[in-house]
């Protein structure tokens, strides 16, 4: 809509820039943008001057140069002959890895602690309270250092696993050492394709069964034991085919050879310490969110469900959880965001995340602080914008309908 006032013909006076509501906002914005522009160009100008006087230029060419350093944990091919760009990629993947693992574990811990904190069991509730307060009120950095120290101080060394050593592998297959944890991997032999196909098919089967069960309930009212059947479907056919095909998949156990274990997957101490610390720390915050979410659902809802004859389990699933999730998920996602950002504390334990590769060694070896930090900041910014964008979509999709 436009402002069609009678007095538009009225001649323009300079003072209207300040006192006329129509022009005033324009004036303010013009002044603001001039100030912003000026300060930005001041910063840029300074930077150019400083770069010049230091004899540096601004270019990202270093990304294609040889990196020259090694990275212990790499999810993609990398060696010291690779480029700095590739090192950054390795770092990015490592950051994402620890963030994803952290979010998953933090959620599990947080939900368990949050629910147990509401438990009627006094001692359990208290213990969870201690956990939550201890982690929320001590800096994350300290926890990372502490857990790292515990990992490296109190776990056995690989050589303790030698003959006569006093350590042994967990279940004969997992080696917990002070250099990290070695877990078995699977080796896919001939016929394993079929097994994979069977497995995928049984997942499809579960999905089909669930559909069928829902249809059937709608039609006849009968409630099928979905959980147990699903579990059975998940395990039985695959297990059957595993033996029919003559055990095509074998487990590759970690074995002690040379200085270290070989074979299996090596979860390094740095990863574990960072992962655990991030999860425990964020888990404490999530526990409070979960607790708050459940408490936010009034007692009346449970009572109404009970009064209708619903069992506690179903009450939880059909009434409490769907409501609590709406309260829980938005702050939960911002905790995920925090966790992702906090993963940059990897520096404390030498986990090679993007800050350590691109923002650490690369910058240090090439002297490209400006470019490196820009890329680093840009990466985190994009990551958090993506996550918070997803959160907004979710929020608007589950908003309760009100009058």
């Amino acid at each position: 809509m436009s402002a069609i006032s009678d007095e538009t013909e009225q001649s323009f006076r300079l003072s209207m820039l300040l006192y006329d509501t129509r022009y005033r906002s324009l004036t303010i914005q013009v002044i603001a943008s001039i100030v912003i522009m000026l300060s930005l160009s001041w910063l840029v100008w300074n930077t150019i001057q400083n770069l010049q006087s230091l004899g540096k230029d601004f270019n990202f060419g270093f990304l294609t140069q040889r990196a020259g350093y090694d990275i212990n944990q790499r999810l993609v091919e990398y060696s010291s002959e690779s480029t700095h760009g590739r090192a950054a990629l390795v770092g990015i993947l490592n950051t994402i890895l620890v963030a994803v693992l952290g979010c998953a574990l933090a959620t599990v811990l947080g939900v368990i602690a949050g629910v147990l904190r509401l438990s009627k069991n006094w001692i359990v509730a208290r213990l969870m309270g201690v956990y939550v307060e201890a982690f929320r009120n001590v800096p994350l950095l300290l926890w990372i250092l502490l857990i790292f120290a515990i990992m490296s101080e109190s776990m056995p060394q690989p050589r303790d696993f030698r003959e006569g050593g006093d350590a042994s592998m967990l279940f004969g297959s997992i080696a917990i050492t002070n250099r990290g944890i070695y877990i078995p991997t699977l080796e896919w032999g001939a016929g394993s394709n079929i097994l994979v196909a069977v497995f995928i098919a049984s997942i499809g089967g579960i999905w089909a069964f669930r559909r069928y069960a829902r249809k059937r309930q709608e039609a006849t009212g009968e409630i099928l034991p979905v959980l147990w059947v699903s579990l059975g479907l998940l395990i039985l056919p695959s297990a059957l085919f595993y033996f029919i095909l003559g055990r095509p998949v074998s487990v590759l156990y970690p074995e002690l050879g040379g200085f270290n274990f070989s074979g299996g997957v090596h979860l390094r101490n740095s990863l574990i310490a960072l992962w655990l610390a991030l999860s425990l720390y964020t888990g404490a915050f999530i526990a409070e969110i979960v607790r708050g979410g459940i408490l936010a659902i009034s007692k009346g809802q449970t009572e109404a469900a009970f009064a209708l004859g619903l069992r506690p389990g179903r009450t939880m699933r059909l009434v409490i959880l769907p409501q609590a999730l709406r309260v829980i998920i938005p702050p939960l996602i911002s905790q995920y965001l925090n966790l992702t950002k906090n993963s940059s504390l990897a520096i404390a334990v030498g986990y090679m995340d993007v800050r350590s590769t691109l923002g650490g060694i690369t910058i240090n070896q090439t002297g490209r602080e400006l470019e490196g930090m820009l890329l680093l900041g840009g990466f985190y910014l994009v990551l958090s914008l993506v996550i918070s964008g997803a959160m907004n979509v979710y929020n608007s999709s589950v908003k309760l309908k009100e009058r």
């Binding site: 309930q217 009212g221 009968e222 009034s298 004859g309 619903l310 309908k401 009100e402 009058r403």
Partner: protein, 263 residues
């Protein structure tokens, strides 16, 4: 009370109160920690009876009602509902809960489900009714409480009176033999109280066994067979409505009546 309601004035003598016992409470006591909330309650409710419970705040009315479908546990005495004794046996509790409907002061509708889903939830998951059938039943009762057109809205979109009527319909969908009401109208604006009371009166006409905590004395006069007055966790007086209002015996009852009728 509105004209409509008074036109439908129920002839109390006409109503069929069978000799069958619906609820039998004997020597029941309950404590909250050290606090003795319910003291030696003895009460027999016959099938088809409509009982109104009143009394000052904190006298234990809600607690009494909630003990009947085991939202609170009693510590001494017996409660037998429809021939089933309330004990720690989960099966008995489930049985009783699915036979006893309850309507709360604050409606307690499930805000994440539509009205229809609110009504079909329990039939589907407790009674194992097929969905289609459950929806038909639900629509029947929504019709009865006069809001079938709201079936696909969410509780948040309805007025208080409408919400409370949905809550009643939701309970009815389980086809309970006994209905408990805990101050169903006290959270409502005056205009809405009438809608809800009308619905309850209609239910009463159909011979539903009802226990109702309420301070709507008009309602009590019109539909109750018996009015029970509680104070300090005890049943202090009970009588037929006429007698109770015109001729209260105990001093406490008199005081109470003078307060609530006076204003």
């Amino acid at each position: 009370m509105s004209e409509l309601a008074s036109q439908r004035e129920i002839d109390r003598s006409q109503m069929q109160i069978s000799e069958e016992v619906a609820i039998q409470i004997s020597g029941m006591n309950k404590w909250f920690g050290q606090f003795h909330v319910l003291r030696d309650i003895n009460l027999t409710v016959y099938r088809g009876e409509r009982i109104v419970i009143c009394g000052p705040s904190g006298s234990g009315k809600s607690t009494l009602i909630r003990c009947i479908n085991r939202l609170e546990e009693h510590q001494k005495g017996r409660i037998v509902v429809d021939g089933t004794e309330l004990s720690n046996d989960l099966k008995n509790i489930d049985k009783i809960r699915s036979e006893v409907g309850m309507v709360f002061q604050h409606f307690n509708l499930f805000p994440h489900l539509t009205i229809l889903e609110n009504c079909t939830l329990a039939p589907i998951w407790v009674r194992k009714t097929p969905k289609k059938e459950a929806e038909e039943i639900a629509m029947h009762y929504l019709n009865k409480v006069k809001i079938p057109e709201q079936a696909h809205k969410y509780p948040g979109q309805l007025s208080g009176g409408q919400q409370q009527r949905v809550a009643i319909a939701r309970s009815l969908c389980m086809k309970p033999r006994i209905m408990l009401f805990d101050e169903p109208t006290s959270a409502l604006d005056p205009e809405m109280i009438k809608e809800v009371l009308d619905t309850m009166i209609e239910l009463a006409e159909e011979g539903m066994t009802m226990l109702c905590v309420t301070h709507e004395m008009g309602f009590a006069r019109q539909v109750a067979n018996r009015v029970i007055f509680m104070d300090q966790g005890q049943i202090v007086e009970q009588n037929e409505p006429e007698e109770f209002f015109l001729n209260p015996q105990s001093d406490r009852t008199k005081l109470f009546l003078s307060q609530i009728l006076g204003h």
